[in-house]
């Protein structure tokens, strides 16, 4: 027995037991390195690059500090238009997914049998297992001038919206819907049935219960879902390239500036716009308590 007490393993653990700070440092060093270097470091590098510029002919980055990129960003009307369009699309996608997701999540959490609930959760997750590109291209052929939507709507005197902003909103809503359903479902599951019953016992009609009990309790969950749909839409450039017709979003400007113009600094400048928008959005929703729900 004495041998085990003196074994190096034992000694090491005794040593660590006496030094709680060292213990903590070892436990957190890997995630801290990841967060600090790979994550925040990359963001910092991005921000620094935004102040440089490129030699237009050779395309090499010139590391001289200037605010020129930001001046261009704020003075050219086109970037304002694109920013507004992007935020508009992201907001619309968020509202649409929330409206569709809420009843779905409500049924899953409160009415479905355990078996049906499991099947529904799987059904909601299934699209996440398929490739983004396949789904976006599927919408391209559905929205096409002689596609499924045209065929379905034509008898009613309607037609497919064709490629454009509306098509982008539809496609993105489809793509991000699971990211909205799942947080709301999780939030509703935590809502005790007794609260709903109590509301009914006190004479509230179903609508009143929904408005005064269910919605306030699940609102943070909706906001949590909106963070996903909003930020994912804000950064998207592929769906809009596939079904967006001639319109472009912030992501396309970033992509074009790297892919076409080889202008990494200006792309970095444009990329700070969604970061700033997201920070403002997060600051706004922090008050709702949604972040505690993530």
């Amino acid at each position: 027995m004495t041998t085990t007490l003196d074994s190096p393993r034992r000694k090491a653990s005794a040593f660590l037991y006496r030094k709680p700070r060292l213990r903590l440092a070892m436990l957190l060093s890997a995630p801290a390195l990841w967060l600090g270097l790979a994550y925040l470091g990359a963001l910092a590098a991005l921000f620094v690059t935004a102040f440089w510029h490129t030699d237009v002919f050779t395309g090499q980055v010139v590391t001289e500090w200037s605010l020129d990129n930001f001046v261009t960003l704020f003075s050219d009307a086109v970037y304002r238009t694109i920013t507004l369009r992007t935020v508009g699309i992201a907001a619309l996608v968020t509202v649409i997914t929330a409206v569709i997701a809420f009843p779905m999540a409500f049924y899953m959490a409160k009415f479905a049998s355990p078996r049906a609930r499991r099947l529904l959760v799987i059904a909601v997750m299934t699209p996440l297992w398929a490739s983004y590109l396949v789904k976006a291209y599927a919408w391209r052929s559905m929205l096409s001038g002689n596609g499924v939507l045209h065929w379905l709507l034509n008898p009613f005197g309607l037609d497919t919206p064709g490629y454009g902003v509306l098509a982008t909103v539809i496609t993105l809503s489809y793509l991000w819907l699971p990211y909205m359903i799942l947080p709301i479902y999780a939030g509703l599951e935590r809502l005790p049935n007794s609260l709903v019953d109590a509301s009914g016992d006190l004479g509230a009609r179903p609508f009143r219960t929904l408005r005064s009990v269910v919605l306030p309790v699940t609102f943070p969950a909706v906001v949590a879902g909106s963070i996903f749909t909003f930020s994912l839409s804000l950064g998207d450039y592929i769906a809009v390239k596939i079904v967006g017709g001639t319109s472009q979003m912030l992501g396309n400007v970033v992509y074009d500036n790297i892919g076409a113009a080889n202008n990494l600094p200006f792309a970095a400048t444009v990329a700070t716009v969604p970061v700033v928008i997201m920070l403002a959005y997060l600051a706004a929703v922090r008050r709702t308590g949604a972040l505690d729900n993530l």
Binding site: T54, D55, V56, F57, T58, G59, Q60, V62, T72, D76, V78, T81, I82, R140, S141, S144, G145, N146, G147, G162, Y163, I242, G244, G245, T246, S247, Q248, V253, D256, N257, I258, G259, A260, A261, N262, N263
Partner: protein, 401 residues
Amino acid sequence: MKNRKLALAGLLGAGLLVAACGTSGSNSTAAAPGGQGFTPPKLDALAQLGQLEGQVNVLAWPGYAENGSNDPAVDWVTGFEKETGCKVNVKAFGTSDEAVSLMKTGQYDVISASGDASLRLIASGDVEPVNTALVPNYADVFDFLKNRPWNSVNNVSYGVPHGWGANLLTWRTDKVSPAPTSWSVMFDANSPYKGKISAYDSPIYIADAALYLQTHKPELGIKNPYALDDKQFQAAVDLLKQQRPMVGEYWSDYLKESQALKSGDAVVGTAWQVTVNLTKSEGAPVESVLPSEGATGWSDTWMVSAKSPHKTCSYKWLNHIVSPKANAQVAEYFGESPSNPKACAETKNKAHCDTYHAGDAAYAAKIHYWTTPITQCLDGRTDVKCKDYGEWTRAWTEIKG
């Protein structure tokens, strides 16, 4: 960087620019090769071939380096690999701009560069001069393709001419009549095909508008669609802004355009011959024409990376790709004119070289080959400054809105 800019300005003052007649048809015969008004970094061409390195990393336009993986019948890479022992790793790019970005990584040994990329690659020192004596098949290449402003500087060759073709006007024969012969169907504000127009998604497309204005607004005095001063540039940008609401979508992926033509979402557009061939082969009734105004186009050059560790395999590849057999296969598969006259005897379709006007210098002169726009006007004007590619790029974002 500053020094290079100064050097540029200095050279401009020295009047080197007279030589830079660029690519416009009427001037090209008088153009002294190279003189683009800039000094490329001093790099030496390979003096002699060494040991084969066992591999070569190829950066190519889609359809330029087929190894049978897309279509088992289309393969001019496997034979080369067996013969030389150089394994060929192919990366395809979608646009010249993408190619320039990829080339900067230094991971590629050879590239099939179009004229709107080649000067940028030369100026930044990403590619080096090519010792054409080490490429035996170079001797056969049409003379009118050698030492042109986009593949040489000051008479130093930077690569091996590959093939050339035009950005054609394409339309659905069942939806568009009469058959168009002018770019008007795409640019005229009253075009009946509003919303069904497909245009190329790249800043270089501004040259297509400039080319249209060259014929339709002669008072602007555009001589070369890649050399535009403030007024001419603004006119081209305005034309494209007017065109934008009529455009159904912009394409940079030729497969996406082919699909749009097939489904009828696009009925008229600018396309490559390969797009037309592909769409036709899938059953859609499309036709193409070189319109009366002429067209923009490409004349591609195989270039060697300055950082390449596989130079001997690279030179073997350069020699292989312009060999009669391989050159014929690429030209037929992609739909362009070969650069080697001997390739005409090797094509499956014996009419290929006639169809694509191979060796027809006069026809080739009607095509305004993609060239990188720079501040020094490529049409030889020294009294004004032209818009450079950076400004073209910014304008393109603005046009798309």
